[in-house]
Symmetry: C2
Subunit: 457 residues, 2 copies
């Protein structure tokens, strides 16, 4: 007997909990410019119990399920097919508990990153993960993709801020690990298994996040550096001198700094004549104390000739002007069509990789523009390649990714694999690693119903 | 055809690689006072390839394998039976690579924690995980048990310092994930699956650890606190004021402080009349700078009446005297027979838990002594109960552990489950969590040959 899946789903979640027809196709499959969503239905359970029943039904009927978070992913992780049912937790947006004393917050997966950050601020605490997409991205999506962002150097990735999880498995089983303690060596760390698995092993429904003390002051400097080796020495010096206070160490290669500061909206605080620029930011107890610590550091760095020039910002507006350079993604659009890559490398291998990449690009795409910036402290580079036609994307991907493998680099530092980077996963992972991943997938989702075809086939 | 397993193993590892007979029984199954080791043989492969061949052989012959690290575990994780083969990586003690610029170190699993720490210091860097057992404990054992120790507040557990792993699975497959990058969102985080799995999913053979800048100065204070609620407020204040510099926040309940300082070898820096004492330590750029930061903090804490008294140590010897109180485990032996428990709790639940525990102990063990200290910032308490006969251990375990479950506490913060805590695992983990752990075990080790009977049956 065939079940009418739409009817059966409606029986579980009620009419408010299901979208079909045009309500489905009006949605996009991802970020700006993504294609229309295709699916039998978008199911929007209001509780973990409803989701559990939905998954049980789908499991019994061999129905594939694609998960939607805030739809801000960059690797096509949310793409579905007309045969799929899409699950979105957009109706599970409750903050369940804020424990100021224990410094934890328990939230449903559909809560946006920004709501979560604001709830933490409401009790004078701080959730450190931060991304440009904070207004739409959900904590469930952040967990599924192990989101990184602007403060990884000091606070780590999403993985490092999650204490407990509740997850619904492919067969509807609810696994509740909503632990609120930091140290918990009691068997396998199930939470870590689900974090970063891009919804292929289970659907996160609730999470306990760890909050931190809110920084009460900060200081920001922009410095010019003449030699790649000086960058790493400067990073070490800064981490030592600012002890745990260093919150950003953002490097802009000259090609990036020159391009962005060529726009009139910026007044370049330093001339665009050095090969590297770094934004240093420290957070601590008061603006004055951090300003002083950063000043001492800059003095020492000048003395050791690690930097050739420096601007220590003296006001909020000066600070914002420096960050505006780093954040001016719009300036990059002048190189359209552009292609962004998010890669990791061991720091000593970075400059060599970029030199080779530049040569390869000159050979294969003589008209292209290469622009580089990134979180050097995390080994994470954002490589932007402009003026390459969209139809050459696959060839370009090959050129960028193939050089990473011999250097121990990663084809995805923060963004994940999803659908888009799947063909290149073997550049970062060995055959035995992939085979072990597949063993785990089959153990948890033997029918391969959850986000089928994401990460690997 | 039956294989003579000892002969077949000798063929793989050579005569130097295998111990049998008295060489086995001369070893202990664990720490001080543990029983003699029982096993068919102790196999000591010299390379990953040898271990892979050993595991393949054992897999083909349904031979159970127990793993030995530095034998400093506290939960009987290394206990073997006469039917087991023991694998020890004590001949795999090479540090393979030190990358000063990338701040990573790659080591074989048999390297002791202390050797690893010293190798890092040799290049003016720092491996932050530290334990009393550093001279014997191996990095492989630290990873298998996700060791914690003295600096978790600032640097996290072993889990947070491991970038890459090489693991041999139960069937001999070598999975190499020796990544040296911090950010690597390329599929499942296999490394996290093995860390803390107590050798039941695979045997760690190599690891890439993350090194940190070496702190150049520190400052230490001992303070008296009159109210449990003031402890958490002091912690928040300290984390804020010292920004990332706070490296220790060790709380001693009065029962601990009174007992230890009653010994003549200590001169109590503060009278034993307050309910709580805290050791605060900050690490940073110079002794002077940290001293100053700590002094400002203490002033603020006194003003807010969070502390009633304080001693800011002025010299290395004064600092050592304060730490000697916290570290005087010998003083606890005066309460023999003693039983140590390593538990976690959400901070707001701690005092209530201890009050109830005290009442339960009064009822069931009226002659016992309860002594408490711990890493408050991590939610981790060390609960010492003295003057309870060894034969009452099981009853005592029940009393300590049963109260944790309703409060969301953990029966093992750092030490793991091993053999000893197995009966109580259900106090920290739900049925569905345990069932998912068993699914993972069966997926990776379907014959259940690796550390059989550890963590769960």
């Amino acid at each position: 007997m065939t079940v009418n899946i739409q009817e059966a789903l409606t029986d579980i979640v009620g009419p408010k909990g299901i979208l079909t027809g045009e309500d489905v196709s009006q949605r996009l499959d991802g970020w700006m410019g993504a294609p229309q969503c295709q699916a039998k239905a978008i199911v929007r359970p209001a509780t973990t119990e409803e989701l559990s029943a939905v998954m049980k039904l789908c499991h019994q009927n061999d129905q594939t399920v694609t998960t939607h978070g805030g739809m801000t992913g960059l690797v096509g992780g949310a793409i579905s097919s007309p045969e799929d049912v899409v699950v979105s937790l957009e109706r599970m947006r409750n903050i369940i508990e804020i424990d100021a004393e224990n410094r934890t917050l328990t939230a449903e997966a559909g809560v946006t990153l920004q709501s979560l950050q604001e709830a933490a601020e409401g009790i004078d605490l701080f959730y450190p993960v931060d991304l440009g997409a904070r207004g739409s991205a959900t904590i469930g999506g952040n967990i599924a993709t192990n989101a990184g962002g602007n403060r990884v150097l000091r606070y780590g990735m999403t993985r490092d801020s999650i204490l407990g999880l509740e997850v619904v498995l492919a067969d509807g089983t609810v696994v509740s690990s909503l632990s609120k303690v930091i140290k918990n060596n009691t068997g396998y760390d199930l939470r870590q298994l689900f974090i970063g698995s891009e919804g292929t092993l289970g659907i996160v429904t609730k999470a306990v996040v760890r909050l931190r003390p809110k920084p009460r002051g900060e200081a920001t400097a922009l410095v010019a550096v003449e030699d790649f080796n000086h960058l790493t020495r400067l990073l070490s010096l800064a981490e030592g001198a600012l002890s745990g206070g260093l919150s950003s160490f953002e490097v802009m290669w000259n090609d990036f700094y020159s391009l962005v500061t060529s726009f009139e909206r910026h007044k370049a605080p330093l001339p665009a004549s050095s090969p590297f620029y770094v934004i240093l930011e420290t957070q601590g107890n008061s603006d004055e104390a951090e300003q002083e610590r950063l000043e001492v550091l800059l003095g020492e760095a000048l003395e050791q000739e690690l930097i050739s020039d420096a601007v220590l910002t003296q006001s909020v507006s000066e600070r914002e002007k420096v960050w505006a350079i780093r954040d001016d993604i719009e300036a990059l659009l002048s190189l359209n069509p552009i292609h962004g890559f998010d890669i990791s490398l061991p720091i000593p291998a970075m400059q060599g990789y970029l030199d080779t990449l530049r040569q390869d690009l000159d050979q294969h795409f003589p008209d292209c523009r290469l622009v580089v910036f990134g979180h050097l402290g995390d080994g994470n580079l954002h490589v932007i390649i402009g003026q390459v036609p969209m139809e050459d994307k696959k060839r370009l991907d090959e050129v960028v990714y193939r050089g990473l493998s011999p250097l121990g680099g990663s084809i995805s530092a923060e963004h994940g694999i999803g659908h888009e980077k799947k063909p290149y996963l073997q550049y970062s992972r060995s055959e035995n690693e992939l085979s072990l991943m597949k063993t785990l997938k089959l153990a948890l989702d033997p029918k391969q119903l959850l986000n089928r075809g994401k990460i690997f086939d």
